[in-house]
């Protein structure tokens, strides 16, 4: 039986109560707003992408401890990573949540979310921010081709 302590590890609550990189970027290359329509969680993720590298990332949103701590950890992890590496990390993160054996060496705090795989109803909470990142990378790709544009690009999801 999955125990609560598998899910709510201290490091998760630390990120939930004191989220890192919370706020907005003035000069974002991508602004993504995503919602989990089944539970109402929502997140705005902004990223600054230069020369194929994620220079900065900030988020704000409303949601449960899992979705918000995951967003906090993710923004820490992807900063200064090449885009491909960030996407690869997202891929491994999804696999971890599905209970697959993956290399966790570079996961740092993120590893604490491993327990989520025992709570299938909560997997979508944990992946929300990562989905936003994947979308954001695609957005910034478009921006890269028209370099001077720093408009906020919103995706098709509804905003509140």
């Amino acid at each position: 039986m999955a125990s609560l302590d598998d899910l709510y590890r201290r490091v998760i609550m630390d990120h939930y109560q004191a989220p890192r990189n919370m706020g907005e970027l003035a000069d974002a290359d991508a602004t993504i707003q995503l919602k989990n329509p089944t539970c109402g969680d929502q997140i705005q993720l902004q990223m600054k992408v230069e020369d194929g590298k994620i220079k900065d990332a900030k988020f704000k949103g409303e949601g449960c401890s899992i979705s918000m701590s995951s967003a906090s950890m993710m923004t820490e992890a992807i900063k200064d990573l090449p885009v491909e590496k960030a996407l690869e990390l997202a891929d491994r993160f999804s696999k971890m949540l599905l209970g697959e054996e993956v290399d966790l060496d570079d996961f740092d705090d993120i590893e604490a979310l491993q327990g989520v795989c025992k709570f299938p109803a909560r997997i979508k909470c944990a992946t929300l921010a990562w989905k936003a990142m994947e979308k954001g990378v695609k957005e910034s790709d478009k921006v890269d081709h028209h370099h001077d544009h720093h408009d906020h690009h919103h995706d098709g999801h509804h905003h509140d």
């Binding site: 609560l4 709510y8 201290r10 089944t38 969680d41 929502q42 409303e62 949601g63 899992i66 909560r122």
Partner: protein, 409 residues
Amino acid sequence: MIDPKIREEFPILNQKVNGHPLVYLDSAATAQKPIQVIEAVNEYYRKTNANVHRGVHTLGNWATDAYEGARTKVKKFINARSTEEIVFVRGTTSAINLVAQSYGRSFIGKEDEIVITLMEHHSNLIPWQQVAKFTGATLKYVPLQQDGTMSMEDIKATITEKTKLVAMTQVSNVLGTVNPIKEVAKIAHSVGAKLLVDGAQSIPHMKVDVQDLDCDFLAFSGHKMGAPTGIGVLYGKKELLEQMEPVEFGGEMIDFVDLHESTWKELPWKFEGGTPIIAGAVGLGAAIDFLQSIGMDQIEKHEHELVNYAMDQLKQVDGFTMYGPLVNHSSLITFNLKDVHPHDLATVLDTYGIAVRAGHHCAQPLMKWLNVSATARASFYLYNTKNEIDIWIDGLNKTKEYFGDGFIG
């Protein structure tokens, strides 16, 4: 109170979940099924199954009798004038969509208004949004008062001479508000408008008499009253259903078919294209028998006592916020616990075997009005007990402790 022995009729309740006896407080989402319903469906498939309305053979006749027998039970249960007014559909959503697509698109025009309320479930909101988009009609909302009820003044002010249709829930699935449907019917009719009632949260819990309410349409689901999923009912006044075109065409609903023209069967079958939900209807009939054996008045009383007991006990829980009116509140409690997200709360309760709902409850405009992104909801039915409410409240206190004391990790 209903004798807790009734729980023995619900096999699913007699089990442990996550090592604790199941405390099922999510009946507003779907109710558990009594053994009588499970057996009726089982027996139907074991002994009766055949297609209906066409067989010369005996099983075909038995199946038709079982299916139409269920229709008669529904007719009596809601006191419709005739079985022609009872259309079997998939659930509340299909019933409302049927009226929206058929009645809405034919009888509502550009200059007309459709009136709904801010407390509607998405299933009684989006179909009307769509009708408004399709016809150019104006969609209006009756506002809510601070306590989650609507004032008669606001209802009267929103319904005007231009209003063609009023669609309103009888009981809110979030606020627990019980709306004055009978009075609303009078107001709607005084301007020549029709009234559709969403009965999803009322039919399972209280006596509903369509002639007394004088509503024009009533939509409800079987699965919230102990029947299987996939069966529901659209009640409509005969003279309205007669004017309406079917929305699904094909087998079962036709009379004569020619190469370029066809005619429809009479009511209610013209709305039941394709092989109908026979076993579901049989299950619904059994659920009605079961509810009536207890008595709808008894069920309402039982739930009233439960919800009052819960409200009383909850006063002692610090940081507990309840939404909706304090009086005349149906058998559900939508709430939040300070500093704990409802999603986290539901997960913690689940580890104690307590099932509650967390989220926006398919009422996003209402969540916006409440100024919350999500809430939790505990909903009660005839099989719930005061002891279970104690367990739930104990679970809330444990959740607070857990989240308050920091985390072991």
